[in-house]
């Protein structure tokens, strides 16, 4: 699912526009599998699947595969409406230099749930 972020995000003009001031490299972990996501002015320029050695990133969003699946349900169940909810449940961690994440919180939350679109509804 994370590998599909470029097509899911870049085809959404308004979403890219909301991220227009964000250029950053960050990590997404789905269980043990890390993905290195590069963003250039709101556009996802690449997603690479790890493992990575001695690679730098600004922030990381980590959750179990089960938690991501629940976050991506077309109509999420209570507690899984956004990544902050999953974090509050103790099933996700958001770590590193969070300034770019927080300054672009709506954009970051929205790109992380774009896989819902592949399941019927966003």
């Amino acid at each position: 699912m994370i590998e599909k972020l470029p097509e899911l995000v870049n085809g959404d003009e308004r979403l890219v526009w909301r991220g227009r001031f964000l250029t950053v490299d960050f990590l997404v972990e789905v269980g043990d599998v890390p993905y290195y996501v590069s963003v250039q002015s709101g556009r996802i320029t690449s997603v690479e699947r790890g493992p990575f050695h001695t690679r730098s990133w600004r922030f990381a969003v980590r959750a179990s595969a089960e938690a991501w699946e629940k976050l991506w349900e077309p109509i999420p169940r209570p507690g899984y409406t956004d990544i902050l909810g999953v974090m509050k449940r103790g099933e996700a961690r958001i770590e590193g230099d969070l300034q770019p994440f927080m300054a672009n919180l709506r954009y970051m939350k929205e790109i992380l749930v774009t896989p819902r679109r592949l399941r019927g509804r966003c």
Partner: protein
């Protein structure tokens, strides 16, 4: 006149709060039992506009809502520019009771949401004889801190943008798009540090204080109704049930397909839960 004009009327009242004069904005609609509505953190009275336009409510209730100092159209106190705004239990209770007394409301019902839902506990404990009932929406005696709120007030993060993004997951996915986004628009409106300052009260951790308040509530004198949305992950249904268990006689209603802002995120759905409560309060002696 051909344009439609809503029956909601807005005015200003002068109240002395914390020893300082305040110009407080309030709105009202309807006639009957006073129903004072308290907005959520970082927001204002607009959250209750749908309730104020509901004839099933305004036929029996005089619905009033005021903007807390620093919020909406109420001004902050003189000298605010040198202050860090931090809401306390005492200041919040004083504002609500001063409003009720200043307007000479006869035993009003007080209904609040989120931080407004939390203040109704001390109000029911301390001012039971002056109140007809309290209704807490998304009420918890303790709210577990889950976010570093310093992000809400710093120069390298836009306060309006992050305010809305921080709470958007608290709304139910089933709530209509239009009212969901109007609710979030409200979260983009407050002055710098106001949302964060309100959360000082919302996440206040003096457990002993609230335990004392809950122990002193007599629901025979001041009935307590607590309604919480199943999608609220800030104040969860479990938080509300735990709170109610400490207040003998408190009634709990868990609202399906509802989030943290019932009156504004899904007003039509909220009616089905709040109208029976208001009817019950009307029938009480």
């Amino acid at each position: 006149m051909t344009a439609e004009i809503e029956p909601i009327v807005g005015r200003y009242v002068y109240l002395r709060l914390g020893g300082c004069p305040h110009r407080i904005y309030f709105e009202e609609a309807g006639e009957g039992i006073p129903l004072v509505c308290l907005h959520t953190a970082g927001c204002d009275t607009r959250q209750y506009r749908h309730l104020m336009l509901d004839p099933a409510v305004t036929k029996y209730y005089r619905v009033l809502a005021f903007d807390m100092p620093w919020h909406g159209k109420s001004t902050p106190p003189l000298g605010w520019q040198e202050e860090e705004y931090r809401l306390t239990t005492e200041a919040y209770a004083e504002a609500v009771m001063s409003f009720c007394r200043g307007l000479e409301l006869d035993r009003p019902v007080v209904m609040g949401c989120s931080m407004g839902g939390r203040i109704v506990i001390p109000l029911a404990a301390e001012y039971a004889k002056e109140l007809r009932a309290v209704i807490g929406l998304e009420t918890a005696d303790q709210v577990q801190s889950w976010f570093d709120n310093t992000w809400l007030h710093r120069p390298d993060v836009d306060g309006g943008e992050i305010g809305a993004a921080r709470v958007s997951g608290l709304l139910a996915p089933q709530s209509p798009e239009e009212t969901r986004w109007e609710t979030l628009w409200g979260y983009m409106q407050s002055g710098p540090g106001v949302f964060k300052g309100d959360l000082n009260f919302y996440f206040y951790r003096a457990e002993s204080d609230f335990r004392d308040f809950m122990a002193r509530i007599d629901t025979k004198v001041c009935p307590v109704y607590l309604l919480t949305g199943e999608y609220d992950y800030s104040c969860t249904p479990e938080d509300t049930k735990r709170t109610a268990a400490k207040i003998p006689g408190a009634e709990v209603i868990i609202m399906k397909e509802m989030g943290h802002f019932p009156m504004s995120e899904n007003p039509k759905h909220f009616r089905s839960y709040i109208l029976p409560v208001l009817e019950k309060i009307r029938g009480q002696k």
